[in-house]
């Protein structure tokens, strides 16, 4: 079984062939590390790739950040979200686009989790809400890799989930000796994403293992659960995972707070559905 895990890890290490790391990233990394670099310089670099800029702006304007006004320029996006979040969006925009076209259910689940995380962060006054939304948006990237890079295994996983009434994660553990959270962790590390985003991806099912980012991980854990509880989107199975007591404690949740969060998330999910219908119908027209 260990061999299977090693094989999957090897595949993840070599996913550089996927359109996930645009050439612009190397330049962006060097310029973003330069403390003297201004927002305008960074914005100019990103804007030089128009397709990439459009993809990033599409994500920035999707309902999960909840900006009341349209963000129409990369420099505004940088000011509103910070360089790190925009960098993460650049990295995830291509894979997100693959998801939008190939795995609509997972795309909706991810968008929904981004929205839910935003509501959680705001209502509980958590620091860095945009980073929490972004982490929630990409928390299941491991599943995209399985679907795209491990096609045969993906088919077997789906059969196993149906046959044995398993959750996606249980089936992944049985067949691959790893799971989407660990695969997401490998990918996020190879992309050099910040720890703030890596831990929520890696530990959204095992909150207690998140040592440096427990609040963000707890928020993403809850966001994932809330979207599944609503039956919104499809992330591989229908089952609501258990709320981890460590996440409940870390977020200082009460039943009243949770009820308020759930009510707002339900309303926002309608907007996500609307956005999804719009995006899918635009794609149909363009196809």
């Amino acid at each position: 079984m260990e061999d299977k895990r090693r094989e999957v890890r090897h595949i993840v290490r070599n996913v550089k062939s996927l359109p996930t790391i645009p050439g612009i990233m190397a330049k962006l990394n060097s310029i973003a590390e330069d403390e003297k670099a201004t927002v305008n310089e960074i914005a100019r670099l990103i804007s030089s790739d128009q397709i990439l800029s459009a993809k990033v702006l599409k994500l920035v304007n999707s309902p999960f950040y909840g900006f009341s006004r349209r963000v129409s320029t990369i420099s505004n996006a940088l000011i509103l979200l910070g360089v790190n979040v925009v960098k993460s969006l650049i990295l995830s925009s291509s894979i997100f686009e693959l998801m939008e076209k190939n795995v609509v259910g997972l795309w909706e689940h991810s968008m929904g989790a981004g929205v839910a995380a935003n509501v959680i962060a705001r209502r509980l006054n958590l620091p860095e809400p945009e980073e929490i939304s972004t982490a929630a948006l990409i928390h299941d990237i491991g599943k995209v890799i399985i679907k795209i890079e491990l096609k045969e295994e993906f088919g077997n996983l789906i059969s196993l989930i149906k046959e044995k009434d398993m959750s996606m994660r249980e089936a992944e553990r049985e067949l691959l000796d790893t799971d989407h959270a660990e695969i997401g962790d490998w990918l996020a590390k190879s992309w050099l994403l910040p720890e703030k985003l890596i831990e929520p991806i890696a530990f959204h099912h095992d909150v207690e293992k998140s040592l440096t980012q427990p609040t963000k991980t707890s928020a993403v854990h809850l966001a994932d659960i809330l979207v599944k509880a609503s039956g919104f989107g499809f992330s591989g199975d229908d089952f609501v995972p258990k709320i981890h007591p460590a996440a409940w404690a870390k977020l200082g949740l009460t039943e009243e707070l949770l009820e308020g969060i759930v009510g707002e998330v339900e309303e926002k999910l309608v907007e996500v559905k609307n956005f999804s219908i719009e995006v899918q119908s635009t794609d149909d027209t363009q196809a």
């Binding site: 409940w248 309303e267 309608v270």
Partner: protein, 105 residues
């Protein structure tokens, strides 16, 4: 009442909540609660970029919410693997209450 994507709005639906501008959600409503939607009004709201509205009753049958019984059965199925877990059951109860409320008035 039911919150629906605006793309599904049709004339005759009755607003159950005020509609605010998307670029000024805290500002004065553009349409008030109790108003009956007309085609003209739908076009106007569409041009304003309204994303969703809350209407009286439960006029739209979304995926899987055909009836109260089916919605509750779906909820039971989704929470199957967390049965008996005290924190997750609190979440289930919140959803159950909301489903019953949304279908009841």
């Amino acid at each position: 009442m039911q919150n629906i994507p605006f793309t599904l709005a049709i004339s005759g639906m009755v607003l159950a909540k005020d509609v605010a501008r998307t670029d000024n959600p805290g500002g004065p409503p553009v349409c008030g609660k109790g108003l009956i939607l007309t085609d003209q009004m739908i076009d106007r709201l569409k041009n304003m970029g309204i994303q969703s509205i809350t209407v009286e009753g439960h006029p739209i049958r979304m995926d899987g919410d055909n009836s109260l019984e089916e919605m509750l059965a779906g909820l039971d199925r989704r929470f199957k693997k967390a049965e008996g877990d005290p924190l997750t059951m609190k979440l289930k109860m919140i959803h159950k209450k909301q489903i019953i409320k949304s279908m009841g008035d």
